[in-house]
């Protein structure tokens, strides 16, 4: 079955699933009210703040190669090792090489979408090592053998009862209805992992060019533990994560927290400027930074799509999207779901296989209106459709369907013929219409608009 057919089948199933819908609506509405309140509470003018953020990110994109070199130089001088990975396989190989060098058997990870992108957990496990996800949401989906449902809230689709059952099965925790007890069970389970792991893996929220720093933002403390306890720290980050200097953080940290979770600023924001330094009592002795391209430079070359590299992965467009809310995160079958995922995935993976995501949108522009870095998401979805058509990557059915449509609609008499058939034979052609069987299709009226108009003019 093709990716597209799977997508259609899964979306149809999820759209009908009332329990799923209620869970997501509950999560999203709690989130929405918090975010809206924090925008007004914290910012004098949200609109000018996000405009400022977009301007800074544009400045980054205009100088990206220079900034990347500056980042590499600064952080290398402070003892880190920077590795450039052209694609996921290369990044995996770098990581395995680092593990061999340091005789790694246990890996602790904090939440990172970039490591999801390169399937790092699978790589680690097939190399015979153990890996623990330490973010609570990520731990839940890891134990359930699933992929993250949402780039910010990985376990959004599971309610307390489901998590209690999962923890009971996998961790032997007594069944409970308390989120507090479940969180404490995860805390206890992971304590040992932090202090005995041989290596800690994190992503990065920002890479600072001028000062040479990696910035991580989180609430639980798992990222801080991951980069404090193990003797080796590996950062895996996309090349678009650059900010010019620390001066941008007083804007970007509150902006990300407000858009992502409706907080003024997240609980922990940590700036890493290298491995343990002389005179410091702890911290990793080695710091590796794997800079991941994996299609980003191709996206960069397409001038129209370049602005999608401004994304700071706050998840706001997912929460706002009526399609995401209806079909849910897993249906996309991508690392990055929702509007931003539908925009970038066809460029990072084969366009032909993934272009259908550009149609998973009503073009209502809710995504564009909430984006904190003002990415014109819904227009980019249209651009994607255009590009797929121009490159003939839309599939036979679509092309012939459109030709068929054009044939009938280009001449009045043919259209009227179609109407006549439709009026009599609607029940027969009904299953072939692309609306899905559950949706009501209006009856075709007896008279066309043009007939009615003529009659009106004559009367």
């Amino acid at each position: 079955m093709s990716t597209f057919s799977r997508f259609l089948r899964k979306s149809a199933a999820k759209a009908e699933d009332q329990t799923h819908l209620l869970k997501i609506l509950k999560a999203v509405s709690t989130h929405d009210s918090k975010v809206e309140a924090m925008k007004n509470l914290q910012f004098k003018d949200w609109e000018s703040a996000r405009k400022q953020a977009a301007t800074i990110k544009n400045h980054v994109l205009e100088n990206l190669p220079g900034f990347l070199e500056q980042f590499e130089k600064c952080i290398t001088e402070r003892g880190a090792e920077v590795l450039w990975a052209g694609n996921g396989i290369e990044a995996q190989n770098y990581f395995l090489e680092i593990c061999r060098r340091h005789h790694v058997r246990k890996v602790i990870k904090s939440k990172s979408m970039t490591t999801e992108e390169i399937s790092l957990n699978e790589t680690i496990e097939s190399a015979g090592m153990q890996v623990w996800e330490s973010d609570l949401g990520e731990l839940i989906v890891q134990l359930a053998g699933e992929k993250p449902y949402h780039i910010v809230t990985p376990a959004m689709h599971k309610n307390t009862a489901e998590i209690a059952e999962l923890f009971h099965d996998k961790l032997g925790v007594p069944i409970t209805e308390s989120a507090e007890e479940l969180t404490m069970a995860a805390r206890t389970y992971l304590r040992d992992a932090y202090v005995t792991a041989d290596i800690g893996v994190t992503g990065a929220n920002f890479l600072i060019a001028r000062e040479g720093a990696v910035v991580l933002t989180e609430n639980e403390g798992n990222a801080r533990l991951t980069m404090s306890c193990p003797p080796v720290h590996v950062v895996i980050a996309g090349i678009e994560k650059i900010l010019p200097s620390m001066d941008s953080l007083p804007l970007f940290l509150p902006l990300l927290a407000t858009s992502g979770t409706g907080q003024q600023i997240t609980c922990y924001n940590t700036i890493i400027r290298g491995p343990r330094r002389n005179g410091e009592v702890d911290g990793p002795q080695k710091l590796y930074i794997i800079l991941l391209d994996n299609g980003r430079s191709d996206l960069y070359r397409k001038e129209r799509f370049r602005e999608s590299l401004r994304c700071i992965r706050c998840g706001a467009c997912l929460n706002a999207c009526p399609v995401y809310r209806t079909i849910g995160g897993h249906t996309y079958q991508t690392t990055y779901q929702g509007p931003i995922g539908s925009v970038i995935t066809p460029h990072l993976k084969p366009m032909g296989e993934w272009q259908h995501l550009s149609y998973a949108s009503s073009l209502c522009a809710a995504c564009t209106s909430v984006c904190p870095v003002k990415i014109d998401l819904h227009t980019l979805l249209l651009e994607n459709r255009w590009e797929a058509c121009a490159n003939h990557q839309t599939g036979m059915l679509w092309r012939f369907g459109l030709k068929f449509w054009a044939f009938f609609f280009s001449k009045r008499s043919r259209l009227n013929f179609f109407r006549r058939i439709g009026r009599i034979k609607l029940p027969i052609i009904r299953p072939f219409l692309p609306h899905g069987l559950r949706k009501r299709v209006p009856q075709i009226p007896a008279k066309t608009f043009s007939t009615l108009w003529k009659e009106y003019e004559q009367s």
Partner: protein, 217 residues
């Protein structure tokens, strides 16, 4: 060609400079509401924010009161179960309140391996800055006894002076010490990953206690 050169070349071939507006850094005072100015404002805002975040704030009139406050916070913990790195402040406190020393583990523990370190109940540290606008505490590996002391133990106690309060993050980031690790702490560790319900103490400290000393030495 290495992947580094491939990526950089590909970016360079299509880079276009000078098309968009120049970005100017806007100061926090223009970006954010509630921008504190006077010392009283700073203190009020900091304590309001920290309490909203479920942090505990203890205001001490002077060093001797602060020493009492510290002892009251840690006396219920087992002997030698607290670990401190607060040069300057802590020595003075221990002089004023010798009982404090009985709770403290030996300072060499700071460099202990993590399994041993994990037995510590409370980490006591200095801070570099306190940020009033967000109720945050900024510390670095240099000032806070490394990376683990403020995150691995279930309780984190911060000893700081009122004079360390700054209005917002921009002021604080200008004057940070040379360190491999700087962290901005805003309340005790938290998560809302299960049905958006707030739970404190996800992986980091469940309790964050700030003892703020009024008369700086």
């Amino acid at each position: 060609m290495s992947s580094r050169d491939k990526t950089l070349n590909r970016l360079r071939q299509s880079v276009q400079v000078g098309k968009s507006e120049r970005s100017v850094i806007i100061p926090d005072s223009e970006l954010y509401t509630d921008f504190p100015v006077s010392t009283a404002d700073l203190l009020n805002l900091f304590s309001e924010r920290l309490r909203q975040l479920h942090g505990e704030l203890i205001l001490a009139e002077d060093m001797s009161a602060a020493a009492d406050n510290l002892y009251e916070t840690i006396y219920e913990f087992p002997p030698n179960s607290c670990l401190a790195h607060a040069p300057g402040i802590l020595e003075e406190m221990a002089k004023l309140k010798p009982a404090i020393a009985g709770r403290l583990a030996d300072n060499t523990m700071l460099a202990a391996d993590s399994p041993a370190f994990a037995r510590i109940t409370a980490g006591i540290t200095n801070a570099d800055y306190l940020v009033a606008r967000s109720g945050s505490i900024i510390l670095s590996a240099a000032t806070a006894g490394g990376r683990r002391l403020s995150v691995l133990p279930p309780v984190h106690i911060v000893l700081a002076y009122i004079s360390q309060l700054v209005p917002s993050l921009d002021t604080a980031l200008e004057g940070l010490p040379e360190s491999s690790y700087i962290t901005i702490i805003t309340g005790p560790s938290r998560t809302s990953d299960i049905e958006k319900k707030l739970v404190l103490g996800a992986h980091g400290p469940k309790r964050l206690v700030v003892i703020l000393i009024k008369n700086s030495a």
